[in-house]
Amino acid sequence: MGLFNKQKKDGTEMIGRSMGQETWRRLKKNKGAMMGIAFLVLLLIGTALATIFYDYDKDIIGMTRDRFLAPSWQHLFGTDNMGRDIFARVIYGAKYSLFISFGSTLLGLIVGLALGAVAGYYGGLVDNIIMRLTDIFYSIPYIMIAVVVVSILGTSMSSLLFAMALGTFCNFARIGRASVMTVRDQEFVEAGRAIGLPTWKIILRHILPNCLSAIIVQTTLKVGSNIISASSLSFLGVGITPPTPEWGAMLSDGRSYIRSSGWMCLFPGLAIMLTVLALNLLGDGLRDAMDPKLKR
């Protein structure tokens, strides 16, 4: 593979191609994944620009007289019941959806992976205790967990993040445990012990990097499903509350006017759908790119 193009410019040092570079090379060939990445990058740039150029009090939550205007060149996505420009709100609101879904996935990933890795590495009683605990969380619908957490901690961004992380970590604990178990008994782990590495270093340096592909793919897919969860919770009024332009909350606002002004629901809904689609395309692409069996 890397044999032909790993000569550095000075021709002395030979450096093999890393797993990251190899994955990126194969990912670039996947049109769906690249479209997903393009959409996400565009969304990130858009929401960053919107944060700079729109005035939150005036453009995002301020009321005007232009209520229920249909989409036009003036208002690309139309306006809502308060006369606010829906385009501005959707773009501006992307950061809430993205922040909550990425944040809660990351939190769940760290906690879940740590628990799963410990369970998978030690096995036996430790494994049983940790996995039965996650099974309990797994068996409760995430909306129930979220309602309980939010009613205890109050509605805020951080309580929503925490609630969703609780619903996410059991997924990662299972994946972490399963992949650690497949690697745990390989000889290089024993070799690591034989040179005197402490257990935590063996797990962090030798076992987890070998499970990375499964974890990365699951993370991308989970971010997508967490966007939907966050929107559902906001829609139910448990998550972020109006007037904050979170996509789920906007859908909830538009529900009453869906017959007369459908665009109020259409555009936030489309935004959710496309973002989740982009993340899923990226996740699928990553899975193919990181699977050594599909190497061409």
Partner: protein, 332 residues
């Protein structure tokens, strides 16, 4: 003679759901400074378990080291704290694994894998450790610039050289080589063996060479211990065991090797199989397969007895002064 490692009455068993597997049943041996001991025996004789016991790495559960002492440089390994053990592993005792294809981590460069041990035990900076890694690679005959390669970019023989480099990076006093050439083809085997022998001699190290290949033993070992069903049946210098064989099992091993000088000669295999370590026979474990076995062999467990010099054998038949095996009619 100064000893580096001394094992006394080591007993290891595995408590599995199906029953107790008696893997090692009271073995004793020692390795002198700058000596190489070959531990020979067929699959399942307990060779690898012995090696793992020396590092106190017998998987627990199900493995239990139930009695015995393992003295390394004057300290009992079985009484060490986990911290001391981590310090000892890799620093005082290092191990070369059987299969280089799986003994290296596929996602870390080979240089980093060598450096890892150096960073751990000698508190070097990452850069200095990488320099050492490159030196180690040169030492085992691989260009230092390959330090940035991943294991899949190296051939099998080169990988085993890397595994040797990792083992020797911290200059351990004892090297355990667990069938280091089994996974390699014959020409590479010879190279790797020559390399190990050269490095051992140059660094004044001792070695425990685990193998089932008597040719390998003849090539590199000073002393030989023959293991059968978790016990040592014959131990002595290579000359004593090869040229003055005493135990019927050792004789059986030699008989099943082709002889280069008499190519037409028929091979004589040892009949039967190694006993199931869950149900070891009551008397001598080898008696069911032994052509010399008498009724007494099936009941009494023979002890390892000194015959002459440093040559010990565990065979009940030698109670009869006149008993000789075919290979060694003089009995000396």
């Amino acid at each position: 003679m100064e000893t580096v490692l001394e094992i006394k009455d080591l007993v290891v068993r595995f408590d599995t759901d199906d029953g107790v597997v008696r893997a090692i049943n009271g073995i004793s041996f020692s390795i002198g400074k700058e000596r190489t001991l070959g531990l020979v025996g067929e699959t399942g004789a307990g060779k690898t378990t012995t090696a793992l016991s020396i590092l106190n790495l017998v998987p627990d559960p199900p493995g239990v080291i139930s009695s015995g002492t393992i003295i390394l440089d004057g300290k009992d390994i079985l009484k060490m704290s986990e911290k001391d053990l981590e310090h000892m592993r890799g620093n005082d005792v290092a191990m070369i694994f059987q299969d280089p294809m799986t003994a290296l981590n596929p996602v870390i460069t080979v240089g980093e894998q060598i450096a890892e041990s150096v960073i751990l035990h000698e508190n070097l900076s990452k850069e200095a450790a990488m320099e050492r890694a490159k030196e180690m690679l040169e030492l085992v005959g691989i260009s230092g610039s390959r330090a940035y390669d991943y294991p899949h970019q190296l051939s099998g023989g080169m990988k085993q050289r890397v595994v040797i480099a990792i083992a020797l990076a911290c200059h351990p006093s004892l090297l355990i080589a667990d069938e280091p050439t089994t996974a390699l083809d014959v020409t590479i085997q010879a190279q790797v063996l020559a390399l190990i022998k050269e490095l051992i001699d140059n660094n004044h190290m001792s070695m425990l060479m685990i193998t089932h290949d008597l040719g390998v033993v003849a090539e590199v070992c000073d002393d030989v211990a023959v293991m059968y069903a978790g016990r040592i049946v014959e131990i002595g210098t290579a000359d004593e065991v090869f040229n003055h064989t005493l135990h019927p099992y050792t004789e059986g091993l030699f008989d099943s090797l082709p002889n280069l000088r008499q190519r037409g000669e028929e091979l004589i295999p040892i009949k039967g199989l190694m006993p199931d370590p869950m149900h070891l026979p009551e008397g001598c474990s080898f008696s069911p397969r032994c052509p010399y076995a008498t009724e007494a062999c099936h009941h009494a467990l023979p002890e390892l007895k000194l015959v002459n010099g440093t040559h010990y054998v565990a065979c009940g038949r030698y109670a009869d002064q006149a008993f000789r095996i075919r290979r060694n009619p003089d009995g000396k």
